[in-house]
């Protein structure tokens, strides 16, 4: 572990922001104030943060329906995201996109995406642009254990290999696609990375509930891909703490499964244990960040609640640049 104190603080803070954002939404959604379908990222924070801590705004990522974590980790503004989820005109997408379509292209965040598997081909294009521009930039497609079965994901992997695009396929295996287990839906049983490897690229595997595992794995992956060796794939084994979407009765979960996961597979707990164990950060550091983040989220929610609402005219704008 060669991370500086600052880097550790930052990583923890990023994960905590995502966790707090999602846990708060889980509560707020029950009040009925928030519209639409929302898919929470709690439990998977180590993946988004462990990946994005290696990137800056010139690297691109593209996300999924479960996009909040990736957006936050890639630098989207917390307050504007919350406003977007509330449907405000001041939100990231002026209230037109909502939870499933938050994007900040200037930050290299090419969008959450409501269509499973749609992101991977787009990431290949962003990688081709990076290749054209030189400079070792990469593009990353986040996909789930469900999305890995979609034809578009396979096509994207083959195209990336053929064009030697600096594209990284990050598979977050949280063991479920909606209400279905990955052991059923992925024909290769428990092996997503192995299938990717057969497409002709190097693959890695890591523990997606352990920030350090993700971070260190990604260091190797990025070295490989930034070095001009074409695409790569990584499978991170991780956990989803909430239902598929908010409202999911989760009858498919094993008895006590979520309690157990929250106990032994929580990336925040793991991080804290490891880092305090190694005397790198102290309890006070965590406490301070936790409080700060709670305030940040509190503020973002109260601002979102009172932020300007869109008006009927707003429906008509932003379809075309010129028409």
């Amino acid at each position: 572990m060669q991370l500086s104190r600052e880097a550790l603080l930052r990583a923890y803070r990023q994960m905590r922001v995502i966790r707090e954002f999602e846990e708060r939404l889980h509560v707020e959604i029950m009040t009925g104030e928030i519209a639409g379908f929302t898919h929470l990222y709690s439990g998977q924070e180590a993946v988004a943060v462990g990946v994005c801590e290696h990137l800056d705004h010139e690297d691109k990522i593209i996300s999924t329906h479960r996009g909040h974590g990736h957006c936050l980790a890639k630098g989207c503004d917390v307050g504007m995201m919350m406003k977007e989820i509330w449907g405000s005109r001041e939100g990231t997408c002026k209230g037109k996109g909502g939870s499933m379509h938050i994007a900040d292209v200037a930050q290299g965040m090419l969008g959450a995406n409501g269509i499973v598997g749609a992101g991977a081909p787009i990431a290949v294009g962003a990688a081709l642009a990076a290749k054209l521009d030189g400079g070792g930039r990469v593009s990353i497609a986040f996909s789930g254990d469900g999305a890995c079965n979609q034809g578009t994901t396979f096509e994207a992997m083959n195209l990336a290999v053929v064009t030697k695009a600096p594209c990284i396929f990050v598979f977050e295996n949280n063991h479920y696609s909606e209400h279905t287990g990955w052991k059923y839906a992925v024909g290769t049983g428990s092996d997503i990375a192995g299938r990717a490897e057969a497409f002709g690229m190097r693959v890695w595997r890591g523990d997606g509930t352990d920030f350090f595992s993700v971070y260190e794995t990604m260091r190797d992956v990025l070295e490989h891909v930034r070095g001009g060796n074409g695409p790569a794939a990584v499978e991170f084994d991780t956990e989803r703490f909430f239902g598929h979407f908010e409202g999911d009765p989760q009858r498919y979960r094993g008895k006590g499964e979520i309690d157990r996961l929250r106990k032994v597979r929580d990336c925040l707990t793991k991080f804290r244990t490891r880092v305090t164990g190694a005397d790198l950060l102290a309890d006070g550091d965590f406490g301070r960040i936790d409080a700060e983040v709670r305030d940040l989220i509190e503020k973002s929610v109260s601002e979102a609640r009172s932020a300007a609402r869109p008006t009927a005219d707003d429906v008509l704008s932003d379809v075309y640049i010129s028409y």
């Binding site: 519209a35 639409g36 379908f37 449907g87 405000s88 005109r89 997408c93 209230g95 037109k96 996109g97 909502g98 499933m100 379509h101 995406n113 409501g114 269509i115 499973v116 598997g117 469900g146 999305a147 079965n149 979609q150 034809g151 578009t152 479920y176 696609s177 909606e178 209400h179 279905t180 287990g181 990955w182 052991k183 059923y184 839906a185 992925v186 024909g187 009765p249 989760q250 009858r251 498919y252 979960r253 094993g254 008895k255 499964e257 609402r309 869109p310 008006t311 009927a312 707003d314 429906v315 008509l316 379809v319």
Partner: protein
Amino acid sequence: MAKMMYREAVQNALFAEMERDENVILLGEDIVGGMGTDGGPEAIGGIWSTSVGLFGKFGPDRVIDTPISESAIIGAAAGLALSGKRPVAELMFADFIGVCLDQIWNQVGKFRYMFGGKTKCPMVIRMAYGAGFNAAAQHSQSVHQILTGMPGLKVVMPSTPADVKGLLTQSIRDDDPVIFLEHKALYASSGEVPEGDYTIPFGHARLARAGQDVTIVATGLMVGFCESVADRLAPEGIGCDVIDLRTTSPLDEEAILDSVEVTGRLVVVDEAPPRCSLATDIAALVGQKAFASLKVPLTMVTPPHTPIPFARELESAYLPSADKIEAAVRKIMAWR
């Protein structure tokens, strides 16, 4: 008669047809739920609860949960149909036709013609369509205009639980490929459904309200809006014929034309975007075949030419509503 919800009528028709004919096979994502999990199968019975209990009753060979791969789902249904089965595939959201349109359009819809009429492909593709849940641009769309334009497909759009039952039963027994469009915002609506086995023939519209002044043509969720407009205007002496098309392909041209011949006024209400749509289709039909009866300009009430926005205010501004329909009717009643 039994009172049931639209979604229950779907389940009910599927159940009855599966019991009646062992060739009826369901497939789709999470239509069982819980495959390969500790909670075990039948965790959900379809995200719209339209296949609840079917896996338990008919087992894994007839209720097939699939990975996320819509082209494979529709293709597999096509292969089943060509092999003598009667598959019912579920697409979950109509918006997902984008990832499997080739199978629907260039395969299923064309086999019979391309093969010189020597085969049949009896299958149903069910999908949930429509706005009203703030599900934004990729989970709220109406797609009947796209599919109605494709020769070889039949397109069904029930607006009531009773019609769901009769039309879905007909769809499953029909020997041609059928697109069965279920409106998300209607799943929880309820109504009387006749007991037992019955079918509603395709191409026969339902007269939801009768009147002499304006013909209003609609489908799905829009029908209810039009009915309430008819009810609002009736006391003022404005009589609306509200025609619920039930199927857009085949289309009950006669019902529309007969009505317009009496009223001389047409309002088409459509939830899809306005260009190259069912609204333009009906308007053009009337402008071609009932021109002489027309007293006022053809009128369409549709969303604007934009994707579907997320926020509540935006989605309501986007969608046709009873108020907008009423305004359109009043406008043509006042024409000239």
